[in-house]
Amino acid sequence: METCYVKLPTLILMWRAGAGSFALIACFFRASLCAEGLVNEDVKRTLDLSSHLAKITAEIQLANHGASRVSGFTLALEAELAPHLAFIGASVKGEEEEDESLELKETTVHGQSGKFFEAQLPSSLAPGAKLRVKVETVFSHMLKPFPTHITQAERQLVVFQGNHYLYSPYPTRSQTTRVRLASKTVESYTKLGNPTKSDETVEYGPFKDVPPFSQDAMKIHYENNTPFITISSVTRTIEVSHWGNIAVEETIDLRHTGAFLKGPFSRYDYQRQSDSGISSVKSFKTILPASAQDVYYRDEIGNISTSHLQVLDDSVEVEIRPRFPLFGGWKTHYIIGYNLPSYEYLYNLGDQYALKIRLVDHVYDDQVIDQLTVKLILPEGARNIHVDTPYPITRSQDELHYTYLDTFGRPVLVATKNNLVEQHIQDVVVHYTFNKILMLQEPLLVVGLFYILFFTVIIYVRLDFSITKDPAAEVRMKVASITEQVLTLVNKRLGLYRHMDEVVNRYKQTRDTGALNSGRKTLEAEHRTLSNDISALQARLKAEGSDLAEKVGEIQKLDNQLKDLVCRSCQEAERLVAGKVKKDAYIDSDKTLSGKRQELVSRIDSLLDAL
């Protein structure tokens, strides 16, 4: 009677749950189906604790002992470790020694705590078949300094707390765990199954037939003086210019996250004793791309003079030395920036552009970045922006950035991610379209600005903005313009004489008197008009009260003489042709005449120069 009483409500409850409950059962069924029949035949775990990171690698031989084919398997992480996870990756060890990485998707497993990932196999595993899988995980901030505060003379001890076994949803037949430490000095370690310790390693196992989800606390307390530096935040700004340059700038907050320095800092000890402040960080190396140029390393108060740059074949190495050594708990802040040629990172097909650049770059070996902000500044006018990230990353609202000659702003993509390690140094690809005409916008803007500037200057110079008249300046300008005219006229007149000479020479050969007479007539006529013009100008100069009028008068006088000479030479030529003079006599007289003319012309020239 009593048994029946208990059973009945349960049944009713199950009926009442209806459809929802059915779905839940189905889900559970599916998850267990995945696990069904899979067994970890042989597991080799390696815990690398030689740096400030905990890198746990497990090589697993999976066997399908079930009846049906299996298309995927589940990876599990302990609840204590899960928050520290920075990176997880799984790969299948192929027969030809070629690893094939697997895609991981986070899932949950009913009734179990921790973090779970489902890995999809490239080809399903037949019943009875075996597979070798390598799982790589990196945890940050897992090594806790103990004691938490040390003096400058003390060494840094840290504690690692983990699991002796592989945390797995499948039973494990056999497994070994090998722990690599940073030094020989080990304060204590858990002694499950009599581990063997040699130099810097502790080896556990083999453990046989471990049930699923087994946990057994492992604790190792050892000396670790490797640099415990953490990038508490980094802002990486990548500014793309289509004029051939990509500017990269990283603003970095650095902190020593090892044991805090207790008591005084003694520079004397630090300089004299090599093991003083052994856990402190003096410098580290940052590796930049090989094409990095114009590298700068500075902070809020200026350039940091303590750094070295080394250009190698495949990279540029910067030895970053903070202004002061970093002891436990100390922090610093700096900016490093450089330029890259865009042809190595920017690809285009017509108006379609693709930028392929590292989302995060190397700062120091075994780096840990607590918080990353990436700002990608694309050129003004970039549209249809699409981003392919190598791993999920949080995108924030896009921003606009204004710099030199920008009008409507450059689009800025902002993305953030927490807890990154070296494995995250991967490329991001940004696709966008950009109209090439827009390249001309900025040069045109500059041209336009200069145009406006020159134009205003021209206007300002040409127009008279003075409110008072300056008669002297006006007279000067008038005189200048008149003398200019005089100059051209006088030169023209001198040209006439040269022309006349040619006419005379021709006459001497052809003996054509008609041509000579007409030439003489034109000379007379043109000379009269020019002389009249010059006299008119001279009169105007005189009216302006300029002393240049006298000089012009002098020119006129000289010119009269000159003209006489020209006429004389003309007559001489006529007489020669008529046979009235001998050739020798003519040559003599011609010489004296041209000599006189030369002198007159040079005098006129010097007068003109003085004008």
Partner: protein, 604 residues
Amino acid sequence: TRSCLLCVKMTKLGFLRLSYEKQDTLLKLLILSMAAHPNTCLNELFLVGSYFNYRTTRFLTEEGFYKFHNWFDDRAWYPLGRIIGGTIYPGLMITSAALYHVLHFFHITIDIRNVCVFLAPLFSSFTAIVTYHFTKELKDAGAGLLAAAMIAVVPGYISRSVAGSYDNEGTILSQRYVVYSNAFKKASIGKVLEFVKYQIETYTLLFKSLVLFLYWLMLGKISPWTGRFYSLLDPSYAKNNIPIIASVSEHQPTTWSSYYFDLQLLVFMFPVGLYYCFNNLSDATIFIIMYGVTSMYFSAVMVRLMLVLAPVMCILSGIGVSQVLTTYMKNLDVSRPDKKSKKQQDSTYPIKNEVASGMILVMAFFLITYTFHSTWVTSEAYSSPSIVLSARGGDGSRIIFDDFREAYYWLRHNTPEDAKVMSWWDYGYQITAMANRTILVDNNTWNNTHISRVGQAMASTEEKAYEIMRELDVSYVLVIFGGLTGYSSDDINKFLWMVRIGGSTDTGRHIKEHDYYTPTGEFRVDREGSPVLLNCLMYKMCYYRFGQVYTEAKRPPGYDRVRNAEIGNKDFELDVLEEAYTTEHWLVRIYKVKDLDNRGLSRT
């Protein structure tokens, strides 16, 4: 003068077929733009005052004018604070902030820091242009061009106007000259010289009121408030009465060598210019004579007033050189060597042409050496930020001591936000700007008693000093120590001033300068030194653990390379302080003031 010659040459060569006026303008523009080209190189702030001005400018641009106006700075003069908005001359900050906003309006995204760094060179180039106009009003364009070219390179002015010196002094000159030259321009057009009359009247008024003021002072009716001002009138005033003013290196009387170092040729051409001005007395020249002579007097009182002297030196020398050149350029017979003219030579002036060309060559030589000297001085003495020291290593390589910034940056990032730093006032502005921490005293030495209190702490024994430091709520103490590197302007060498200033107020009556000397009246840090000195806080902070350091070969440990002596007190421990940080070359040492012991036991 020079330009005329050049013009003639250029037309002869057929370079330019412009009218004479246009050529003149072009040449003037060329020379002026060369003179006005800003001489810049680095983008670091150089001088101590610049840091404060930069900090206030940044505040103004970030927070806006009204917040700036109401700004009460609790970072300085702890626990008094300083009302910055009301106690500074905001012209400089407003100018750069306005420039910054205008540039940003046009999307020229220049950092405010760069605006500050390049403001001084910008204004110095304005000064060159304005000097040209000013001198042109006094004499002619030739003299103006010479003066502009001279002021462009004169070290005395460059020292205050290189990129990175961000101070009122560097920028104010150009503005002042704009006023002067405008006034003279008006005057030269023909209006009455009211301006200068007005100026002279103000001067006389000022003088009268001064006499009255001094008279009152003697009666003891007005308390002294601007000691710097008195020391201008009476150079010995500060030395006798206010040690704080006398202690500043910039307030020391100027030596002859520094005149030559900063002005070179100008020192000799200045009287020539004065002579010319006396020969051609007009209101304008009288003004420049007065200006020149009074600046000469003031610059002799304090080194820092060299800045006032340098431009007027340039103007007067420009006039002088130009006068010499025009005189002899006229005698220079540039026409073709004609046999006739030689016969007609003046019998009273036998080798006129040779003398003229010789004079011009000598002048040209002087001018060239002047430019070389100026470049050398500028690159040697005024181009490196005072915050970075450098020395030559044994192998001739350059060693940089960047210890100041190392220490300040350490303070900025590794001390609590509200930490109070005690140091001698010289480093106050730098600490607030670079370390962003609260300080007790800074370069704005307005409160004598407060500085005196810090001096007392430095000059007392640890026990006494701890009381003062607790009273002032000090968490860190910073000292500059050059004993390891040989940096001579460190705190031990300044220490006597701390003693004097510390002893100059009531609370420090027990501090007597002679206690810190040996019986023979020497200031020594070695075994012979006075025990009071060897046990005071400053001594202990500088030499803590220094007794173990070997600084030079064949010398005992603890050999001070500045004082050239083995220190007298070697093995001691600090009771109330602990070493918090010492920079790489021991230039800056920072100590943390220990908390009170539990149960109120005294520390010592």
